[in-house]
């Protein structure tokens, strides 16, 4: 029994250590390739997570009683910095596309407005109860908000055919994977606490290792963002573009009308 317990702790420390090593590796490569200039928030997040892992490991080994307090406080801090990654993805990807950026801002505003309106429908005492509820539920809900923002961004990027570089694609995919896996983990934790508890301490770091693998693969070398050259004529005459598209739609509708009148 004692040996089994000891080997479990060893395994957990090993997974943890591999994660820290991968983070250090990613940070070193980021500095070597000067990727931190292009993605400062992402590398700040990585640095924070790395320091947090080392500190948490120390607390876990020397003052295990305080571990959970430290864990949840740092978890919320990493969530806040992680939200910055979403902003960075938006900023870097849409730098050369002001039109798409404007539409994305508007759609994100609508999505966040809808989430806020949905929160308002909860009675006030309910909100306080919601805030005071288990930290896991709160974090899961915040991760869902992040997931919605990522989904909206991904849909708009796909709609406007925004070209990604390998690096940005990797950051987006890795962080989406991380957020998605977090939601799944928190949901499972919420609905089947007792059965899941023994696996909890392994599932999260193992999933994180998977995400680290994605990031290492994507960020090993700096790949410049593909450049697109806008058509200056169209750029200057947006009204003409709208009118042309409308006219083409009208003509197509007319042709569909012929089919009905045949």
């Amino acid at each position: 029994m004692f040996y089994a317990g000891k080997s479990i702790v060893m395994l957990s420390v090993m997974i943890w250590s591999v994660g820290v090593v991968l983070e250090i590796l990613l940070l070193i490569r980021g500095f070597q390739e000067k990727l931190y200039r292009q993605f400062p928030i992402f590398y700040l997040y990585l640095l924070f997570v790395m320091v947090n892992d080392v500190v948490s490991m120390g607390v876990y080994r020397r003052a295990a009683n305080y571990y959970f307090q430290v864990y949840w406080v740092t978890q919320f801090l990493s969530l806040a910095i992680g939200s910055g990654i979403i902003f960075e993805i938006y900023r870097v990807a849409l730098r050369s596309f002001p039109g798409a950026a404007r539409m994305t801002r508007c759609v994100l505003l609508i999505v966040f407005g809808a989430i806020f309106a949905n929160a308002l429908t909860i009675p006030w005492d309910g909100v306080f109860r919601w805030l005071a509820a288990a930290t896991i539920t709160l974090e899961r809900n915040l991760r869902i908000v992040q997931a919605l923002a990522i989904l909206t961004l991904a849909l708009l990027f796909s709609w406007y055919a925004i070209p990604f570089g390998k690096n940005l694609k990797g950051i987006l995919f890795g962080y989406s994977l991380f957020v998605g896996l977090s939601i799944v983990q928190f949901t499972i934790w919420r609905y089947s606490q007792e059965q899941v508890k023994p696996f909890w301490s392994y599932a999260q770091p193992v999933c994180y290792l998977l995400v680290m693998g994605v990031w290492i693969r994507a960020l090993w070398f700096a790949v410049p963002l593909p450049k697109t050259i806008p058509d200056p004529q169209i750029e200057n005459d947006y009204e003409l573009l709208i009118a042309t598209t409308r006219d083409q739609f009208r003509r197509t509708l007319a042709r569909l009308g012929w089919a009905a009148r045949a």
Binding site: F97, G99, Y160, A161, E235, Q248, T252, R255, L256, A259
Partner: protein
Amino acid sequence: MMPGLAFVAAAAFLVFLLSLSARDDNGEDLPAASMRNQNRLGVTDALRPAELVLRIFSPKDREFIRLTRSPRLQRLYREERRRVALHWVRLMSREMSTIMRRHRLNSRHSQNVNVAAEAKLFGQYMELRFLCAGLVFLIQLFGPHALVDLASYAGELRGRLGKSMLDATASNHVAASGDVVAR
């Protein structure tokens, strides 16, 4: 629970309709590459003339084939015409996608994008896509002359209803005048 399920079912049906309109007769996706390869600013001017559309959807040919009284010929005609009609509607659907794609690729660079105009345009685009999807659905289910048949059926129904209403009014008048005479 039920409204949620209904919403999911409606969404699934709409996605199914859209996927129908984006597939060719063999069930394969229309080549997206051909759209991508098109000149970004080139306008697809290869529009189908009105005569062709009228001919595809007109029931005149069906009437002509019916005169032959050959079931095999009628079946062949139905199958072929259905394919032609589906091909035409899908071409329309693809053309709309190309128009919208071209618009998106150009508007993403524009400094002065009008959010309301873009939203309206997107609404029109979705309306047209669903119209095409509905047409594909109808053609697959009832054949190429579904619209004409539906229209003529509706006309016939309206005529019958109008006639029966006229008859009812007339009989009411007769009954009323009979009452007056009896008094």
